[in-house]
Structure formats: structure tokens, C-alpha cells
Amino acid sequence: MAERLGVYLRLAAASVRATARRPAHLAARFLAAALIVTLEVAGVALLLDRFGSIGGWRPAEVVLLFGLGFTAQGLALVFGDTLEADEVSKLVRRGTFDQILTRPASPLGWVVASYVDTRFLGRSLAGAATVVWAADRARVAWTAGRAGLAVLAVACAAAIIFGVLLAAAGFTFVTVQGSEAVDVLIYGGQYLASYPMHIYGSALRFLFVWLVPIGLAIYVPTLGVLGREGPPGLPTWLAWLAAPVAAAFLAGGWLAWRAGIRHYVGTGS
């Protein structure tokens, strides 16, 4: 097992070194990833400042949700960007996946480790900076418990987004053609969970708290960080469920990936 892990680490290190061969290029991509978060957050902050509050939350409190969401999304994309439909579609159409299947390693480990993309760390770092800035403006009194909740939110949300990517990749093995619909779950889910969940109707809330539990992962722990009571049906103590639910979702994504590979037929190229 330890030996196996060593192989994946070496693969990952190789892909990181490969991108580092063009430092200016890497720096530009990294900066671009950070900028997109910064400007999106700036836009949201401008909007919320005009209104003063949304669903009883102050602007800084909402921006905190955005920061946690972007941090998690960046982490998930560092490892999972190749699982996006377009990329998997390329692996299948070019026959690259045939070669991957013949190697003495798990296909998932191989795909993830050989395509680690560090530029998405720019998104995570800008997200983390947003969290720190927003927490300061929202006057969050950081304690070990509250910091733990913020870390829990990021870890669980990243696991869920990675789970969505896995399931989408499994689906792409069957359809071969990529689909924009996955974006709804990856980017749409994160966008939705960046506003307080209680502003949405019951259908959207149920869907993104229990089925694609990104709301449970981000919103509920944030209630604890801000020292707020949750709305009816979403008490603060549900944060304890975030980790097991995220783990279950990730496992579901992995099963979908496995099922997809079982249906995999090479394209003969």
C-alpha cells in the first residue's frame, strides 16, 4: 500500500514539475485563477453593500460563504480538473484511457496523480484570503472550535465537488461526449451554496442540502462560525453530519466512476 502511494506521489510530483518548467505561464494561470475569485467576490460585495442585508445576513457574512465555497472548489479542481467532461471525453476519444487501463495501477489514481493542476491553488488561496477578510469584517471571534468548523466546511465541500466530478466522469465514459449539464452541479451548486440557504424555496434547499449536500457542507458549519441559529429544519448541530454525508456522497461518486469504467468501450483509435 505504502509502495503504491509512493508511485502516485511520484506521478503527481512529475506533473507538477512539468508545469513548473514554464514558470511565467504557470504564474499567469495561477494569478488568473485568483483574480476570478477576487473580482467575483468584489462584485457580490458591491451588490450586497447596496442592499445592506440578505435574508437577515450582513454582506460580510455572505462573503464568508463565498470564500469557503471557492476554497473548496479550488482544492477539488487541483485533483479533479481532468475529470471534467471535456477532458475525460478527450482521454476516451484519443485512446489514452486504453493505455491507462493496462498499467499496474488503479485508473483513478493514475488519472488524478498524472494530471494534478496546481494553478487551481490560486482559486483556493484567494478563497482562503476572502474567508479571513470576511470573518474580520463580520467580527468573528475565532476559537479552535470555529476554525475547526471552517476547515470542516472546506474539506466536506471539496469532497462533494470531487464526488460530483467522479460521477460526471463515470457518466462521460458511457456517453463519450461531454456535457455542460455537469457545470450545474459543480459551479451552480457552489454558487447556490454561497448565499444563505434559507433564502431558497424548499425544493432547492432539499436538493442541495440532502441530495448534492454542498449546502449542508458550507452553510451549516458557517452558522456555527458566525454563532447563528439555523432556520427550522437546519439546526446548527447538523454540522456533525457534514463529514459522514460528504464521505457517503464521495463513495457514491466513486461507485459511479467504477460503473462507468465497467461500461467503457475503447473508441478503437
Binding site: L35, G55, S179, E180, A181, I199, Y200, G201, L204
Partner: protein, 259 residues
């Protein structure tokens, strides 16, 4: 003229063949539309008007934005730059007629297809169920249609200028990705530019980003519609001139590698 019309028709048909992409695109547009509508409803719960906009104006903004998204960020965004880098673009210069007009005609065909299959359905579904502010008269609707087509034309012209940077640098992607976040915010994809601080808003109002999203929104909500459309026409002319100049300069220095 007939050749350009044929190219326009070819572009239209080419785009309508992507059925699965169309369904996925509509689903994505609808989802983001619903979430953004919920956000604006929640924001306006305790107030009637902010920065001169009412909730109906912002909801109209949301759905026009969702409908126009694929038109402005065309799925073939990198096509021109890639053709220039690979050298395929040289063939374009050898073909009869005017290269800029030919590209524009083909692009407009594809964009019209997107307007017909994405923008119109999105607005047609949202209008009856949500308090959208759309023109009620035939004249107003004609102005809105003109404004949407002009948005598509400006989108082509801006994409052409970006693609043309590939004549000068092979690393056009990094450069664009660095500018993209600013364009994203300034063209009104994150929030309506009406909510920007006054100086910033004035800057955007007089920039070529204005015709892309905010102009059709203002025409729809009936804010000096004729004037806004006239502004879009002015930008189409200015960008046409810029495009011609860039193309002329680039053709002079184009070096094609390989045989």
C-alpha cells in the same frame, strides 16, 4: 452579397446540429436563472428600489443575461486564435471576397441560431411565470430584437480582436485569462453595472462592453431604448474599423510555417 448570406445560413445550420449541447445549455441557463432570481427576490424583500432598479428590472436582467450567455461567450471562442496559430487562417486570406465580412457573416449565422434556440426560449419560459419587464409594443419588441442581434455582432467583433492577438503572441490564452476576470465583472456578468460606484459605472457605460449585456437589458426595461440601440450601432461601426485595421496590419506580417 449572396455569398455572405449563404455563409450566414451555413453558420446557422451548423450550430443547430448540436442538440445535446442545446438541452444541456438550456438546463444550465435555467438553473442559474432560478438561483439568481431567488437571490434578487430575497434582496428586495425589504425595499422597493435600489440604485434606480426595481425587482422587476433585476429579474429581467437575470433572464436576459442567462439567454445571452452562450451568445456572448460563444462555444467557439478560441476558434480564430487556434486557426491563426496553426496557420489554417492563411487559407482564409486566399478565399474570394472580404475575409472580415466572411468571418462576420458565418459568425452571425451561428449567433442567430443561438439567439433563436437559447435566448428566445429562455425568455419565453421566464416571462409568463416571473415579473419580467419586457416591451409590450411591436416597436419595443423590434428594438429589443435589434439590440440582441447587435450584442451578438459586438461579441463577434470583440472576439475577433482577441483572437487576432494570436498573430503577435502564441501565448494568447494566458493573456486573455488575466484580462477575463475584469471583463467578466465590467460587462455585467456578476451584477448589473447599475450597482457599481458612479465613476466605475460611467466608465463601463462608455466602453465597448456596454453593448454586450447591459444594453439589451436597458432596451428591454425601456430605459431610453432608442438611444441605447444607437450606442450599440456606434460601437459596431467603431469596432468594425478597429477589426479592419488589425486585420490589415496582421496580414502584412503573417508568416506561415510549414509546407
Amino acid at each position: 452579397m449572396r455569398a455572405y448570406l449563404a455563409l450566414l445560413g451555413a453558420g446557422f445550420h451548423r450550430q443547430t446540429t448540436y442538440r445535446l449541447a442545446l438541452a444541456a445549455g438550456l438546463a444550465t441557463a435555467a438553473f442559474f436563472g432560478v438561483v439568481r432570481t431567488a437571490v434578487f427576490f430575497a434582496l428586495y424583500r425589504e425595499r422597493d428600489q435600489v440604485a434606480g432598479l426595481e425587482v422587476a428590472d433585476t429579474v429581467t436582467y437575470v433572464w436576459i443575461l442567462q439567454g445571452l450567455f452562450a451568445v456572448v461567450w460563444a462555444p467557439w471562442f478560441w476558434e480564430l486564435a487556434e486557426a491563426i496559430r496553426s496557420g489554417e487562417f492563411a487559407v482564409e486570406l486566399l478565399r474570394p471576397g472580404d475575409p472580415y465580412l466572411r468571418l462576420a457573416a458565418f459568425d452571425l449565422g451561428r449567433s442567430l441560431s443561438l439567439l433563436a434556440t437559447r435566448t428566445v426560449p429562455v425568455l419565453a419560459v421566464a416571462a409568463p411565470v416571473l415579473p419580467l419587464r419586457l416591451p409590450g409594443t411591436a416597436g419595443g419588441l423590434a428594438l429589443l430584437a435589434a439590440s440582441l442581434v447587435l450584442a451578438a455582432m459586438v461579441s463577434f467583433q470583440l472576439r475577433f480582436l482577441f483572437g487576432a492577438t494570436a498573430f503577435w503572441t502564441p501565448d494568447y490564452r494566458s493573456m486573455f485569462l488575466l484580462v477575463f476576470p475584469v471583463l467578466w465583472l465590467a460587462s455585467g456578468f456578476v451584477i448589473p453595472v447599475d450597482f457599481f460606484p458612479a465613476p466605475l459605472r460611467a466608465l463601463v457605460d462608455w466602453s465597448p462592453l456596454m453593448p454586450l449585456v447591459m444594453a439589451p437589458v436597458r432596451v428591454a426595461t425601456g430605459r431610453s431604448a432608442a438611444l441605447v440601440v444607437a450606442g450599440q450601432v456606434a460601437w459596431v461601426l467603431a469596432l468594425w474599423l478597429a477589426g479592419r485595421l488589425v486585420l490589415a496590419a496582421a496580414s502584412r506580417r503573417l508568416v506561415v510555417h510549414g509546407g
